[in-house]
Subunit: 555 residues, 2 copies
């Protein structure tokens, strides 16, 4: 379904922009219509100071000492322990707006080395060594985290009077490829470092598809999807990534785990679900077994318009509860529909009224046609008006491009970020209002105007996810302002019975709020699992577990 | 969908037979056709020695001392701490064939007391007291475990030189009722001690249904379904119980947990899935939030016949992978079809050829008709022949009655038990053969003839569950013989890449095999969670964690 450019043939995309999103060749200027619109919406925004160039960036010297470096080289080979500037800068974090703003500065943090293991055996040896010597290890897949999942935090070495440890980035790109495909059962085993486009190309050659399309699709890895409980744009049809996983292999400092023995089981707690979302804090996911499906015979697109968000949400609820089976269904609120972000390619071309809905149906021809017709009947009965196939096709075509737009906005000094949550249908509109108000109020407190767009892109019988896109005209230090606004938004999500993350994981950015979601005892359960698997506390210190996060925040 | 007798109106069934299944009024003699058939299949079987009557049963005196009894009474009220014979015998275990055989003896084990708390606060206080005083606590829902989940094992008090603790059965029937129903979101919150028929009656009064129908439906509780990761007969349509749960409240010796905040989440590991299947070893589940659906407008039944099991399994695989949406789909193998167990009411009436398949479709009228027609097209194309609606309706009518048949067989000295597993489609027929051989070989080694029937009743895109019904003409000590046969079967399941349980949980009976499914490190993870939540090790000692099981097995 990723038929919009050359990467579709499985050619690995080149490395991402070190200080922005994606393919450097696809970086683009802000459309002139948007440029004209921005001062109207956000007021006058001063152009920011120019960002540091790659050559201007200054890093502290690598804290990895020679003995440790030699020991790591003895495991993975000297060429696979990199301490050069380029490797370190390219592994210095993820792609949140905070990350990108930090990357404009001259002084930057980076891991002390990048280590590229070849296989599970080497990973196990690296983890043992790191545990003995107090070296923090940050597993690195596609590098697309937007929640601070990859910050090179060293944590505190309690055994050594608080001395900061060295931090290595454990780059997993050498763990790539299709290990096995059980065509009859529709199950594929992929190595964790395989990127999503590589995985789809390997599967397509055998007539199969995974069908997991988050915005990060072009760069993200299978292991990263598992570690972060990723949601994709087709999650309404194929389920979130956690619903696709049937098995995991995990290498931890305390040994290896092979989990997931049957399509369903009553053999105790589901430990697969304990490692999905573990964000590298419990172990390194090295293989993922996944449900796959035959490449769809047909793909059918439709666009709809509804009077308002409430009518659209009501229609989506009925679709979810009746189970009419769209592969993709998205509802843009009035604001998102208005600026045309529902179809990125159309931004600024026309201001639309009402709320747009997009549906995509995939699968075997006759069944897919039936699902489409049945869904259309529900949407029509719920007050929807069909607006043709084209807007939905355009959305599919442009759907991985929004992050490029963010880069262009940031270059113009316009703050741009996304955040998301999920809740029950009965609480959906209230939570949307509370979050929107928290964003608007938060920026207002810093004399910044903001525009908040929202869509629903993941539906369940009991509820849905809300995805917010925010642009704001921040005049002061955007890093500082956003830190405060986001904190207020997270408080509003917790007070409003939403989850702290539906799409993007906890990372370091949400870690202080996780305890309000799972409770003090829930945190202790996670801590007990971590202590068993990672007794030296070397694995991705600062993610998930708020206590660690608080300790390391001062760094 | 439970329209086969009076309990359908929600009237709580009376207490179960203390030494057999279900309603004493429904106990029945073996059908004469079956009686005639048995010697042909199994050889001559001596009638067993008569079972001990209720009055003949002898229990050891309660080991709960007066001080503990008073302390418990101070928490729950004196009338809710029962040490009388009747209460103790009725809480002495579950309903596996091993349980029922043990219940024929004069000397029986029973918990030292039965404690009936009213609410979470009382449960928390009981757990604190029990932790301080080293009293084991076995949470007790419907009492229908068939895997040794309820044995009154005291465990070993390591702090006290191995002295056996007292054991109390924590009876949860007072925790009953519907706490909340969110009609828009289709979410119900039920107290854990609510029985399934009570839950359905409470929901039906509001136009909703849960739709979880294991064989134990009439007696099992909502909390028990959650604690054991139960599968029901409608799991192909509505999902296993673990797929229905959206939230849990758990009271542990270390505090309380409120888990499950949104219909989907990326906020770290899914802790709900850590407590589903925890079998009372981590805490007492006191409330369960569940996805529910409107009472179906229509129910459509069909029966089919296939040439053989292989053709039938291939058809079910296609239905699962195309997602045509039956609520129930079951395939009986040649043996099960032959003896007519596919429709319990028809046992012995006619020997059928081939393999029968039953489908039931439920839901909104038009969509349900479409799903039925689409499924019928797939089954027909896969070689199925439609045999009318009647056999499927008969199956629905008689589907909770098989356990009564087991009682009648046991009374005739015929050993009868069930076991189940699950695996991928590509491994299904091999695992079926391996398990069947292990059963047959196991009984042969004890000069016992056996008959093994099998059905597939839970399908997934990647695989299916296998459910075996076994009858055997055991001449010696059936308890001892079955212990050895079952051990060989479990080894065959593990060697054959099946799960040790798909329907019934681990309990004490499967605990020694769990390590082969999740590995030594997986066991350590469970142990670390248990140590955090139940540091005194009082909760249901012996289930799940094989080390405990081994220690307590000598008792």
């Amino acid at each position: 379904m990723f038929d919009d450019d050359a990467a579709a043939d499985g050619a690995a995309p080149g490395p991402m922009r070190w200080n922005g999103w994606g393919d450097p060749a696809k970086a683009r200027e802000l459309p002139s219509a948007v440029r004209a619109l921005l001062p109207v919406v956000l007021g006058r925004i001063p152009r920011p100071a120019p960002a540091a160039s790659f050559d201007e960036v200054e890093l502290a010297a690598s804290a990895l000492d020679e003995a440790d470096r030699h020991a790591l080289a003895a495991i993975v080979g000297a060429e696979h322990v990199r301490t050069d500037r380029e490797a370190r800068i390219r592994h210095s974090g993820g792609k949140s707006t905070l990350d990108l703003l930090r990357r404009r500065a001259v002084q930057q943090h980076a891991p002390d080395a990048v280590v590229d293991p070849a296989d599970d055996r080497e990973i196990a040896a690296v983890l043992r060594l790191a545990s003995e010597r107090g070296i923090a290890v940050v597993p690195f897949g596609g590098g697309t985290s937007v929640v601070g999942g990859l910050d090179p935090e060293g944590g505190i070495d309690r055994a050594d009077g608080g001395r900061r440890r060295a931090v290595i980035s454990l780059e997993l790109h050498r763990l790539s490829g299709l290990v096995a495909l059980d065509e009859l059962s529709g199950e594929a085993t992929l190595r964790a470092g395989t990127t999503a486009p590589e995985a789809e190309a390997l599967l397509a050659a055998r007539g199969f598809e995974l069908g997991h399309y988050p915005q990060s699709f072009r760069y993200a890895t299978i292991g990263g999807f598992a570690a972060t409980r990723s949601s994709g744009q087709n999650s309404s049809g194929y389920g979130r990534f956690d619903a696709m996983v049937t098995g995991l292999r995990v290498v931890t400092p305390s040994g290896d785990l092979d989990l997931g023995r049957a399509p369903g089981s009553a053999a105790g707690p589901d430990l697969v679900q304990l490692f999905l979302g573990s964000e590298g804090a419990f172990g390194v996911i090295t293989e993922v077994r996944l449900r796959v499906h035959p490449v769809p015979e047909v793909r059918l697109h439709d666009a709809w318009t509804f009077r308002d968000f409430s009518a659209g949400a009501n229609a989506l609820r009925q679709v979810a509860q009746l189970g009419t089976g769209p592969t993709v269904i998205r509802l843009s609120d009035e604001a998102e529909t208005g600026v045309g972000l529902a179809q990125v390619g159309r931004i600024g071309k026309a201001l639309s009224k009402g709320c747009s809905v997009i549906t995509v149906f995939e699968g075997e021809a006759a069944i897919t046609a039936e699902r489409r017709a049945r869904t259309a009947a529900v949407l029509t009965a719920a007050g929807g008006t069909h607006t043709g196939e084209r807007p939905a096709e355009e959305w599919v075509h442009g759907r991985f491009n929004a992050p490029y737009l963010r880069d262009a906005l940031l270059d113009h000094g316009v703050f741009c970020e996304t955040l998301e949550t999920a809740t029950t249908w009965s609480n959906l509109e209230r939570l949307k209002r509370d979050v929107t108000e928290a964003i608007t109020r938060g920026f207002s407190a810093h004399r910044a105007k903001s525009l908040v767009l929202c869509h629903v892109s993941h539906i369940y019988p009991t509820g849905a996810a809300l995805y917010f896109t925010i642009i704001a005209g921040v005049k002061g230090d955007a890093l500082e302002v956003w830190g405060k606004v986001k904190s207020g938004v997270n408080d509003a999500i917790m007070a409003g019975a939403g989850t702290i993350s539906h799409h993007h994981a906890v990372g370091r950015d949400h870690a202080p709020w996780l305890e309000r979601e799972i409770g003090e005892l829930g945190m202790r359960v996670l801590g007990a699992v971590k202590a068993e698997l990672d007794p030296a506390g070397i694995l991705n210190p600062g993610v998930l577990l708020a206590a660690d996060a608080a300790e390391t925040r001062g760094r």
